[in-house]
């Protein structure tokens, strides 16, 4: 069986080699051009920054991971505080009155900041 396989493979190899030998001139010319284009890569200066790409990528990935781990809790804290403050304001006894006098409080705020009051 092994001998049979070897004979069979030898015949296929011969057929393949023959097809390689018969490649036409135009194709060989294209291969030649492709080879020289590839060899021209040897004369191209290597981009220095590409050397730092893996390290930069790793640092960036770590930063993103840290930010992603930290950000949700920070946002949650801020959201919790602001929600509590909003609720206090809305539930406070003075809230309705303050809303009615909104223009007045706004004027006080501006006046205070300009030093006209007090």
């Amino acid at each position: 069986m092994n001998e049979q396989n070897e004979t069979f493979e030898t015949r296929m190899k011969e057929a393949f080699d023959e097809s390689v030998d018969k490649l036409d001139g135009a194709t060989l010319s294209k291969l030649n051009q492709g080879r020289h284009a590839a060899l021209a890569q040897l004369h191209r200066p290597r981009r220095q920054w590409s050397r730092w790409m893996p390290a930069t990528g790793a640092v960036a990935a770590i930063l993103v991971a840290v930010v992603m781990l930290q950000t949700p809790s920070a946002i949650d804290d801020v959201a919790a505080v602001s929600t509590a403050t909003d609720m206090e304001i809305l539930l406070g006894e003075d809230s309705i009155e303050m809303l009615e006098e909104l223009e007045f409080y706004s004027w006080i705020d501006i006046a205070e900041s300009e030093g006209d009051v007090g």
Binding site: V20, T27, L31, R35
Partner: protein, 212 residues
């Protein structure tokens, strides 16, 4: 101090300069690529059944080898080159599959691999009798079709082992798998090809006397 300077001068004179080494490396790469390019083209062409696409794949593999592996030892170039080429062929098939799905989605007929005519793509006869040429072309066409229809990994193993002549270890590097897998894929490929080619019985692959 004078002795050290003399030793340094002698060692510099003996070692090739950077420029000479680069030139030598370029010459070796050129020789390697010139040796491998035609077989690589035919291997890629059988895998994708399109000569222009195969030319592009071979050129890409050459560029990547020169750009990324020119400093490796010469013995490593063959399996590395074929590894790059096989990856390119696999990517090409993936892109082709996506393109065909999109074309089907838009109601267009996907490109048919069977449209490829190996006889039409074959070069002009080289001084043979027409019937002999036709017989060989038909045999090669049957072989190409049978190899193309193999599962991808079997096709890779078969072409690298039989057509390129890589050993099991080199084929394993080129395919990115173990030597055991190479042996399995290769054995299955040969078995499948024997069945298919003898089924069609083209003259070029008819069993020889004494073969079952």
């Amino acid at each position: 101090m004078e002795v050290n300077t003399a030793v340094f001068a002698v060692s510099c004179a003996g070692a090739p300069s950077l420029g000479a080494r680069a030139l030598q490396k370029e010459r070796q790469l050129n020789q390697f690529l010139a040796e491998v390019e035609r077989r690589a083209l035919r291997i890629a062409e059988i895998a994708v059944r399109d000569r222009d696409e195969a030319l592009d794949l071979v050129q890409d593999a050459m560029i990547k080898l020169v750009r990324n592996y020119s400093d490796r030892s010469n013995e490593e170039w063959t399996p590395l080159f074929y590894r790059i080429l096989q990856n390119g062929v696999r990517d090409w098939h993936r892109r082709q599959a996506v393109r065909n799905r999109v074309m089907v989605w838009f109601g267009r007929k996907p490109s048919d691999d069977n449209d490829y005519d190996a006889i039409a793509a074959a070069p002009d006869p080289t001084g043979r009798a027409p019937d002999e040429e036709l017989q060989n072309s038909e045999a090669m066409q049957s072989l190409e079709k049978a190899v193309y229809e193999l599962p991808a990994r079997q096709r890779e193993a078969f072409m690298l082992r039989t057509f390129e002549g890589l050993d099991v270890a080199g084929t394993a590097v080129a395919m990115g798998c173990s030597a055991g897998s190479v042996k399995t894929h290769y054995s299955r490929a040969v078995h499948a090809l024997r069945e298919r080619l003898e089924e069609h019985r083209p003259e070029g692959f008819a069993p020889v006397e004494g073969e079952s």
